[in-house]
């Protein structure tokens, strides 16, 4: 047995075929290009509150954001809206995607009033949903 191994080692030089390497790399690039989702939304400038129970939200494709800033302004898809509009916007969004998750990104200094109005509008707008999934965007507490 030791003989055999030695012989085969000496005989041929080991070559790794590198001809297909570029194909592999290109395929990888194509994969990453196709799976990349660009975020177009700019949103409002908010400082998120911190919470110990912060979880990671995995289904980010189903997320729709609502921004609420310090002054209580509400923004959806980069448009300033009032709570009444949210009802119709999210009724349309829900009919497009029934797995919709609404993420509320509100400033920690924002008054609670607009936040509550948004929740009530969502409950009225997405009335066909068995339940409305909401995420309060927070930062993990350090």
């Amino acid at each position: 047995m030791p003989r055999l191994i030695k012989e085969s080692k000496r005989e041929g030089r080991v070559l790794i075929p590198t001809a297909s390497m570029s194909d592999i790399a290109t395929l990888l690039i194509i994969f990453f290009v196709l799976t990349t989702v660009f975020r177009k939304e700019v949103g409002l400038k908010v400082i998120l509150p911190q919470a110990a129970n912060t979880e990671r939200i995995l289904k980010s494709r189903d997320l729709a954001n609502i921004y609420i800033d310090k002054e209580g302004r509400i923004s959806v898809d980069d448009k300033l809206v009032d709570p009444d509009r949210i009802r119709t916007i999210f009724r349309a969004k829900y009919s497009e995607n029934t797995a919709l998750i609404v993420q509320i990104k509100a400033d920690e200094q924002a008054p609670y009033g607009p936040v509550d109005k948004v929740i009530v509008a969502l409950r009225e707008g997405m009335r066909d949903a068995p339940q409305i999934r909401i995420v309060f965007a927070t930062l993990p507490k350090r």
């Binding site: 990671r56 200094q109 609670y112 309060f136 507490k141």
Partner: protein, 141 residues
């Protein structure tokens, strides 16, 4: 015309492809280095839709644990002012007595949102607290 053809036939044109893999990998490295992962983080909550058929369930007494936040951001459990850090113990205590109680967080319209998240976060620290309701207190003008 014949002359022109000759040098063409003589040598084959080759494009060197040996460095192709290196170029591709450099591109991958560039994209990986510049990629910003949008990690969405937050606290999940499911609320029922509001329709005509939505039943209004009236709860009273021990079945309802009221946590209120006033416009100054002060927190009350029932009528008693409390510190935010006391909330988990109070909730645990209440649920030990009445296991099916609903925890209602009433927040004043002008109270800062961060305060409500703080309270909500404290309530969430109690795993038994699964029935939580959110409500707002209208500002009297």
């Amino acid at each position: 015309m014949m002359r022109l053809r000759r040098p063409m036939a003589m040598q084959e044109a080759e494009i060197p492809t040996a460095s192709m893999a290196d170029i591709s990998f450099l591109l991958i490295v560039f994209f990986m280095a510049t990629a910003v992962f949008a990690r969405d983080k937050g606290m999940k909550l499911a609320v029922p839709p509001k329709t005509e058929e939505t039943k209004v369930v009236k709860l009273s007494g021990k079945k309802l644990m009221k946590i209120s936040i006033n416009d100054q951001g002060q927190v009350f459990v029932g009528d008693q002012p409390v510190e935010v850090s006391q909330i988990p113990d109070l909730v645990r205590q209440h649920l030990a007595e009445t296991p099916d109680a609903v925890i209602l967080i009433r927040t004043h319209e002008r109270a800062p949102y961060g305060r409500m998240i703080q309270v909500f976060d404290e309530v969430r620290k109690v795993p038994e607290a699964t029935r939580v309701a959110l409500k707002s207190i209208r500002a009297e003008s």
